[in-house]
Symmetry: C2
Subunit: 528 residues, 2 copies
């Protein structure tokens, strides 16, 4: 614990700000000293060099032998060849043209009305960015209202369809199906559910559908064959979790009526700032160094994200993916088993003050906080809730109060400050964390741009679905029913009795099998 | 790692289910053996005894010298005296009567219309439960549509007011202000903002307002003086984070048209199950023991909550408060400094598979997972996305696949299964975690029912607001402006220069001060 005077000294020397962008980063509550900067000076230069190579088009994702080009999206002139540059520029132009056609009523619904809703079908990198931006920048004056199918939950899909009803239902809805690979099963299922719902409403799905995917993918072929309204490209050099400023994020945002040029400009400005070789003037390096200080470079602490602004509440989910999927790796680039990562969670202040800040203040010291402050309170002027005091003064007071109470209890924090939640600020926020993740990955020597661990769960899921088909085929149609042991044997998976039992219970609950109860849940018998 | 056959053995012996409640708990993937049960048998009986005493009316919150009575809410006959019993029963009757009056059109808006929206103004324990339940059980057929002011963010308040517009705005909105103490500043601010918005719309606020608070509180006095529509009581023996089945949760749910009797019955049934003295037949003890196994009783691992059901996505936020605010304590009951806790985060499956499951599978092994499965897919029958396969089969397959992939990688998990998301299931889920938290608190010897650490942040926030008033008074009205050092000195807080600087920036951004730029952000001068 350091006294207020000393902290003020540190605040002035460990404070980065950029007036043009309306942004500041304060790492003064991370207890970083000059010796730490000195000890990590070489690493910082190494990270800058690796990033510069990445930006020049090096194969920065060695596992998949890919370039990593999300920084070119907001500075196409930096792309390594004219091919990428033109792809980026042409796609942006096509997005703006398409959105203008929709807003201007040149592209209308099957029934000749204007589109009023945009339904995004996507998951992970194809949903979290669009959801974050839609919520951060959306307002009652949105040109199209945004909705999402972001899972393969049938009930969840039904809920979204219900929510569309008050604003004209599917008849007034443009649906954007997003899958970089074009083969993501959850998204494929969402697309099929949406198509069935259009048909059930007496509508022709292809008159409402747009695809964003890599050329030649399964989704691309479907969109071509069915003559969808439009297709926009993704490229193998843009990863899902860094795709918000590609068509994935820009098309939904443009349709919603948001200022995508502003978002790109904000990201480009932050990219410029985070290329600075002077460590103390590079907010991306400062942030990555703060993470290293907090976690020992081993993920020893969680990052709790607390934006004091309701419209930024989804930033923690967005960063959860960006940070954890990038850094959470089994092996380092040399093949050593390292089990790296940095867990991220959070919601919003001061709401969370009344939820889990009790533990943050008093409990397990297994975290550091990232506060996000927004200076501008609201569009109109504020009511006084006490003489001379606004609701926003309380929001501000709770941020500073919590920051201080945590620091006094030995809990460090970083504070980001934005003048306002503008398109440029949102672009800058995204770019800042993309860069910090890249730098930190160099510090801990991991590939930030692949996700090999996701495959294990997908394969295991496909195995369950394949086994389910065999169980369905093995279910007797009459008689006493079969035990799970018998079904497992007949399905050719005698060791997989637990999975077979769970499959039988799942089928029974949905009217696709019948259960003859046994003396325990595990001795039930099942019939088709 | 254990093979599938051995896991099946364990699944059958470490599986609790209750057909009546449509609920099952599986701890077989926590690697708990008989020796662990034996080693904790005494603790388990101690936890049962402490809980029995609590339910009989012992002072279970010694710090605040209070009884802890949330279990009586769903079994009023268990209350220690007729006073509590009658208070619970009368309140429930009053809630149902009030909701029936609103639904039946006997209680109408100022303009004689039926109410269409319910706006809940509350934070923490007065918002997280109502939000979770509203989302879990809500549908397009809700009697009133639920909205929330759950923060003191002016822009967030404006957004909610905008969202009310399509369904009639404030003119058709009943506002329920919830604050147990009646003095929570965020809620007071939300109430004042709501009242101002009613007035701005030409409406009399008191014709739309209802209070839930302790008798005689600041909020209660306001509601009496202003002749609000109704008041419902809270009691000092119900804590905020366990208040969902008091008026706090039941009134909003009843107004929304949800089956509150079903919720209470589900909670009562789970309470019965978790009173069982046979540890292996007590799901509350099984869960608390699983937490102990995972965390070593020291909060060494985070709990990641993954409900595979969109409508349960808020359960992680609800549990974040319930678990972290209850268990995250500096001192144990004997006054030893222990820094206890159990960090909770999560969102929903299989969405999170495409976000941070990469890290869960491959990265830092600092967590265990709580899977929540729901057997019933949807109301209607499902489309086939492949021959014989539904979107729900994929949801199910991803749950089992992720569970297996994590376990194969040495990451343990608990699985809760519900037949369907019914009011009883939601009540049971709440009751299960309330009980597990209580048991675990006995294991680690902390008071689960106070939150002393929240005060530090509140006091620090009030100090910021008080200092702001002094800074405003000290701002010169003309001339070159004052430096932050001068303002801090004049405000009588010469050491608090950083806070004064942040106050000046906050005021400037909101048009309440003017800034004369300096050569650095810290050498600016400020004017009124």
């Amino acid at each position: 614990m350091t006294d207020a005077r000393q902290l003020w000294e540190r605040a002035r020397t460990q404070h980065f700000s950029d007036a043009g962008l309306g942004f500041a980063l304060d790492i003064s509550r991370m207890d970083i000293d000059d010796a730490f900067f000195a000890a990590h000076a070489e690493d910082a230069q190494r990270a800058l060099a690796a990033m510069a190579a990445l930006e020049r088009g090096a194969v920065a994702n060695p596992d998949e032998q890919r370039m990593v080009g999300h920084y070119w999206l907001r500075a196409p002139h930096l792309a390594p060849s004219l091919t990428e540059r033109r792809a980026i520029e042409d796609t942006l132009a096509a997005i703006l043209r398409f959105a203008a056609d929709v807003h201007g009523g040149r592209l209308r619904t099957e029934r000749g009305e204007r589109f009023g809703n945009v339904l995004v079908v996507g998951i992970g990198g194809s949903a979290l960015g669009p959801q974050f931006v839609a919520d951060a920048l959306g307002s009652a004056t949105d040109r199209l209202r945004p909705f999402f199918f972001d899972n393969t939950d049938p009930d969840g899909i039904d809920r979204v369809l219900d929510q569309l009803e008050p604003t004209g239902g599917l008849a007034r809805t443009l649906t954007v199906v997003i899958s970089k690979s074009g083969g993501t099963k959850e998204t494929r299922n969402g697309m099929l559910e949406a198509q069935a719902a259009y048909r059930a409403a007496g509508l022709a799905p292809e008159r409402h559908l747009v695809a964003i995917t890599q050329e030649g993918s399964e989704l691309d072929r479907v969109a071509v064959a069915q003559r969808w309204l439009a297709r926009f490209p993704m490229w193998d050099w843009v990863g899902g979790r860094t795709s918000e400023l590609s068509a994935v994020g820009l098309l939904p945002a443009a349709l919603q009526g948001l200022d995508v040029a502003g978002m790109l400009a904000g990201a480009a400005a932050m990219d410029e700032l985070t290329r600075t070789t002077n460590v103390r003037q590079n907010p991306g390096l400062l942030l990555a160094l703060a993470w290293r200080k907090a976690t020992g470079g081993r993920g020893a602490k969680d990052m709790v994200v607390l934006p004091y602004k309701d419209r930024l509440a989804l930033v923690s989910k967005y960063l959860q993916q960006l940070v954890m999927e990038s850094l959470g790796k089994e092996k380092d680039l040399d093949g050593n088993v390292v089990h790296q990562g940095l867990a991220v969670y959070g919601n919003k202040g001061s709401t969370d003050q009344h939820a889990y800040v009790q533990q943050l203040r008093d409990g397990v010291a297994n975290f550091f906080v990232t506060f996000i402050q927004v200076l501008k309170e609201r569009r109109a002027s504020s009511l006084q809730v006490e003489p001379g005091v606004t609701a926003g003064d309380y929001l501000f007071g709770f941020l500073l109060g919590t920051r201080r109470a945590l620091y006094d209890g030995g809990r460090p924090s970083v504070t980001l400050t934005f003048d306002d939640v503008t398109p440029a600020a949102v672009g800058a926020l995204i770019a800042l964390f993309e860069r910090a993740v890249g730098f930190y990955a160099t510090f801990v020597n991991v590939n930030a741009y692949h996700q090999p661990g996701v495959e294990a769960g997908k394969k295991a899921a496909q195995a369950v679905i394949a086994l389910q088909a065999k169980v369905i085929a093995a279910l007797p149609h009459d008689g006493d029913g079969a035990t799970v042991d018998a079904l497992a044997a007949q399905a050719g998976a005698p060791a997989e009795v637990e999975t077979v039992w769970r499959i039988c219970e799942h089928l029974t609950a949905n009217g696709r099998a019948r259960r003859v109860p046994g003396t325990t849940p595990f001795t039930a018998r099942y019939l088709a």
